[in-house]
Amino acid sequence: MAFLGLFITIISGIGVVLSISRRLKLVEVLGLSFPVGMGLQTFLMVCLDSAGIRLTATSVFAVSLLITAGLGVYLYFLRAQLKDWLKYIGTFTCPRITWLWLLGLIAVGVVVVMNVAKTLYYPTFDTDSVRGFNLIGMAVANEGTIRGLSLFNDANYAMRGAGSYITYTPLTQLSYTYMYLLGFETSKMSNALFFISFIPVFYGIVSRFATHTLAALTTLLTIITPEMLGFSSMSGTNFIHAVYASSGILFFVTWYYKKTPSFLWIAAMLLMLNNWTRSEGLAFIGAACCLLLWNSIKIKRYKTLVLFTGLCLFPFVFWNLFLKIYNLEAVNAVILKPFWDSGKITVIITEMWQLFKAGAYYGISFVLFLIVFLSNIRAIVKKQDHAVSLLLLLFSWIFYTILIYQVDYIWDTLENVMRYSYKRFLFSFIPLLWFYIAANHNIKWLFDKADNFLFSIKPPANQKTKK
């Protein structure tokens, strides 16, 4: 039952992904299948609960089977395009692989095996999950309801305070519920699968912009980011959020540079799920919408912008509506009016600087990004090399910092929020930093040269004579 449930989730994920785009690589489709399938599953669980149907293994399983069958029918009508996709992934040209590529992938494999073993071996023990996400997941599986959950409604648990777990959008919690409903001893299978899924997606996207050797090395350096790897084996929301947010932004970048329209909708779906995981995901949506607005103004067409924004914001609106309808609202700690607090700004900047310069948390990610960025300034100014990737990074970082600034921390100190929450939120930026490091003009040129040297490819004669 447990593995059949996971299989259905993966199949439904593949169904959704292929319904949206038939231009993805096989590794990307396989990598996206679990995160997207789980997103769909959790959304269906909230819908079932809203309809007054008890959340049991049978009810959840029956509905997901029904939806998967529906997707199957839809894909049947797209069979001609699916055949084209099969041809597209079938025309496999052997990549220029090297020893470094092989060693990089072996190292990725070693890290994955060791980390997944750790994830599955230890049950949930980290603070936020024990007293929040995993507890809620376990309780929903036991009581079969979200809106009537004792933890939310019993005054004994005081779940209505500012910053309480009730305010978190429910993907992580409900993915744990799903694991408990399927009969797993702990909910950690969900974390393990999110970690495994991220690797092919990231590798697939980076290899669209860089050589396979560089993609393998970048994937390795991304996943061994110390603090992020440590948290990927725990039950918090941060790594799961990083998977959705970074993949969403990277597909947005791929849409922009590779001009494949369907990637914009893959990005929209992933950014939607990023917001279904954490409300702060609005920062990434804001950044993508700003770039899309600029693009829309350029081409003077706004339909795509409206649809994209609407889709991305849907989970946030849907969840808050759900909380309002079932009277599950908590104290709102967000200050909606603009204000000036120099003390707060000083604390944010000081703590942020401490995080950036602490190599122990993020390894060489920030330092190398800075070096590569500075060395690439000429290409950025002259050719706008990956300007969109950089702007997305900058905007989402600014938007998130503004969000942090606009919250009234009555339940904790700002220093603590910066040292713990902000530190973990930066996980979403790590894959984006490494993507830029791999895809920028200078590094790409260096690895292209190395590839050409290895495979003895001479530049065409007309290029040779050019000066």
Partner: protein, 205 residues
């Protein structure tokens, strides 16, 4: 039909009589060429240089050292040494005596129990060489391990209506006996007892 010089009919060549090579010579050369390029000496030099650079960068950084030594290697060794550990044992590895006590409370109370914990200041007191951590003072932490049982602290006796429904008392570091409605005989430092004498229906057992 053509005849051979000897006048005999030429034998029809069948696949069986003359097997085709699996790969054409040209194709074979291409694959060999590709293999040499991909895994030849130049590739080896590049890999060695890359690995050396990565090693230097990674070994100089405390975070990567911690990641490899403490996070991956140390846990891998623990997992290999205790591969048959039960879920309870794995919880104990991470949470120690906290988990032992909470689990004891869970095992010895019915699912509908309302458990009174002593004043928060007593919950981390050392007794009999054992001590609970600050986590016991967080209601949600404890609830995770005793769910669906409910709990409250004695600090809440005037504010929490659940105080009237208390069915069990958690004894921590010898505190809590004063809340029992009967004189306890054999006193231990850490246990859970029914509030009223003989009122311990373990409906979940």
């Amino acid at each position: 039909m053509t005849k051979s010089i000897s006048g005999k009919k030429p034998r029809k060549k069948t696949e069986r009589s003359q097997p085709q090579p699996v790969l054409q010579k040209k194709q074979r050369n291409r694959i060999a060429d590709w293999l040499i390029k991909a895994f030849g000496i130049k590739s080896m030099i590049m890999a060695a240089a890359g690995c050396l650079l990565l090693y230097v960068v990674i070994s100089e950084n405390k975070g990567y050292q911690w990641m490899w030594t403490n996070l991956l290697k140390a846990n891998w060794n623990i997992i290999r040494q205790h591969r048959n550990a039960t879920l309870d044992e794995r919880y104990q590895m991470k949470l120690g005596f906290d988990y032992v006590f909470w689990n004891y409370v869970k095992q010895n109370t019915p699912e509908d129990a309302v458990i009174l914990f002593p004043l928060k200041e007593y919950n981390t007191e050392k007794a009999d060489n054992r001590q609970l951590t600050y986590k016991t003072n967080n209601k949600m932490w404890v609830t995770h391990f005793i769910y669906p049982r409910r709990m409250l602290y004695k600090d809440e006796q005037d504010t929490n209506p659940l105080y009237k429904e208390v069915t069990h008392v958690a004894i921590i570091a010898g505190h809590g006996y004063e809340d029992l409605e009967y004189p306890a005989g054999n006193r231990t430092y850490f246990t859970v007892l029914p509030k009223k004498q003989g009122d311990n229906n373990l409906t979940n057992k």
